[in-house]
Amino acid sequence: MPPGARATSLPATDAARPQGRSALVGRSGAPRFYLTNEFGLLVLILGFGAIFGLATPGFLSAFNQFNLGRTAAINAMIGFSMMTVIVTGGLNLAVGAIGVCSAMAMGWLIQGLGLPWPVAILGGVGLGAALGLVNGWMVVRSGLHSFIITLATMSIFFGVMVFLTRAQSFRGLPPVFAEFGRMKLLGWVSPLLLVAVAAALGLILLYRFTALGREMLAAGARPEAATLSGIQVGRVFVLCHMLSGAIAAVTALLVVARTGAAIPSMAGQLGQDWLLPAFLGPVLGGTLLSGGRVSVIGTFLGSVLVTMLANGLLLLKIGEFWVQSCLGLLLLAAVLLDKGRRSFLASRKIAG
């Protein structure tokens, strides 16, 4: 009997769901919303928001919310920049260095070459993507882990930038940047936040509704399987790094808008100041460091939570230096909690 002849005898899909776990599982087989990471983050954000709102007078002020929004937008973008490479199971230590290089390049295009600012922005983002291309190409060609490659390029990119700019800032940028940074919509919403939301929507579209995005996830989860299914894994990985570079560049432009100038130290020595926010967002948001699974919304919410905690702790007069320790503890707590949540779901055979 040919297999086809039996095709109707056994329903293969939704109807045949085994009993006993429906309480925790939604229709699609994914865990119910209240068990997801995103929901947990939302609860934490609202909870901490309420605590800070009650404990400090300044927290809910329009001025503080505006500032919080701007910083959250920048942190979320830094997180996205890292997330797009974490998808491949790798990481990009050079996000900060690429960002600074792009911002400085833009500053130079405007101040040094006198190009109009839209062209300069394109140039900056283009450089970010190009530096990402360099990273991606080297990672793919060498077969080495991106950690060591981007550790080296972080140093190289930053060093060349300082060498070329003589460590001088570009402070004569057109007023549009500072105006964009100062703009308040509806009294407290910064347009920076809108940029981050737009980026989030774009990334959701990419990962959920395009072939390229799905290829990125498949290649990141199991490069061997993706290769044998005809996905050009090397090319896809290079694109992930380029995307990361471009997002880092946009992020740096947002920072320029906030400060009104392109400054070589805007991301600290070698751009290392971006590393913690870069990992906090994705890790809190439930992105797998081994690749293949992302949560764009989770990364966004994670970054918002981190920014809010830092802001709230400062308002509580914890002392700005201790805030860094608190964020480290938060990262530790987050990975532990996530591990617990996953093993809870795994014990019930639900994909977390």
Binding site: L151, A152, G159, F279, F321, W322, G328, L332
Partner: protein, 324 residues
């Protein structure tokens, strides 16, 4: 196999050749490079950087990474300086305290990694932030200036000719590490864990104990490097350790360390720091922008990992031993 071919296979041969070549080249362009003072400066840099490199090397040996070397070193350094200035502890006691903090911080890293099974990258990124925050919280980003004269003297004087006192602990550590990794069960377990963790576990080696031990050693070495820097800089700078990350990877990698673990070389790592120091100093001698050092370090890392990779694939390509 001829002695030459055997030497070619070792890790130290390439770096040694590069070192000799670099010395010849640089001194040909600028004979003052070999002046005793210059050699002393070189050795000072090598001594501290070798400790930093060892701190990372021992973690590379188990196939992990430690982003917190700088933060641990910095925390130990300011504790050392702070204990002497604020509490008036004698230097020796303060040093023991600083080293203890480093050992403890490293052991905590190892404990968390072994207990949770979460990647060392994330754990040490978190602890980097925690340790650095504690450092800044204690110091308010202000240095401790009250370093006793004896410590300052230790950092500024020489034992013999151009050899500074600071080089002595580094030398002792190098010998001890070599002995650990080649002669002591713990060292062999560390390398076995990095070489094949599964096999090591099935051979009765305790993975968690070995991981914790390696991280504790790493923390202790980072702390020692921090103390040496306090002596050398003559103040307890809160920024000590901020720029160690790249430095800590460069030397072991130039020394042929395999990043996936199981293979490191103490001698070649020392040569790696020597190469880095020579190049740094050459840039100063030739009045090249000091920021260019960063570029050179990055290129060196890329070059070294590329070379290691090439050596590895080439060696793997050699015919296997004859079948029985």
């Amino acid at each position: 196999m001829s002695p030459f071919a055997r030497a070619l296979r070792t890790d130290w041969f390439g770096p040694l050749l590069v070192t000799i070549l670099a010395v010849i080249l640089v001194s040909a362009f600028d004979p003052s490079f070999l002046a005793p003072f210059n050699i002393q400066v070189l050795l000072l840099a090598v001594a501290v950087n070798a400790l930093i490199a060892f701190s990372q090397m021992i973690i590379i040996a188990i196939g992990q990474m430690n982003l917190a070397v700088g933060a641990i070193g910095g925390l130990a350094a300011i504790s050392f300086a702070g204990a002497m200035q604020v509490w008036g502890l004698p230097p020796l006691l303060a040093a023991i305290m600083g080293l203890g903090i480093g050992l403890l911080a490293g052991a905590l890293n190892g404990l968390f990694i072994a207990w949770t099974g979460i990647s060392a990258f994330v754990i040490t990124l978190a602890s980097l932030s925690i340790f650095k925050g504690i450092n800044l919280g204690i110091t308010k980003a202000e240095p401790f200036y009250g370093v006793p004269q004896s410590v300052k003297a230790f950092g500024a004087t020489t034992v013999l000719g151009p050899i500074p006192w600071i080089a002595v602990p580094a030398l002792v550590v190098a010998v001890l590490l070599w002995f650990l990794l080649s002669r002591l069960p713990l060292g062999r377990f560390i390398l076995a864990l990095g070489g094949n963790a599964h096999a090591a576990e099935l051979s009765g080696i305790s993975v968690s104990r070995t991981t914790i031990a390696a991280h504790a050693i790493s923390g202790g070495l980072a702390a020692l490097a921090g103390l040496m820097l306090v002596a050398r800089l003559q103040i307890g700078q809160p920024t000590i350790g901020d720029d160690w990350l790249i430095l800590s990877f460069a030397a072991p990698v130039i020394g042929g360390a395999v990043l996936s673990g199981g293979h490191v070389s103490v001698a070649a790592t020392v040569l790696g720091t020597v190469i880095v120091a020579i190049i740094t100093q050459a840039l100063v001698l030739f009045r090249i922008d000091p920021f260019f050092v960063q570029v050179v370090l990055g290129v060196l890392i890329l070059w070294a990992v590329g070379l290691n990779r090439w050596k590895d694939t080439r060696l793997a390509g050699t015919p296997k031993g004859a079948m029985s």
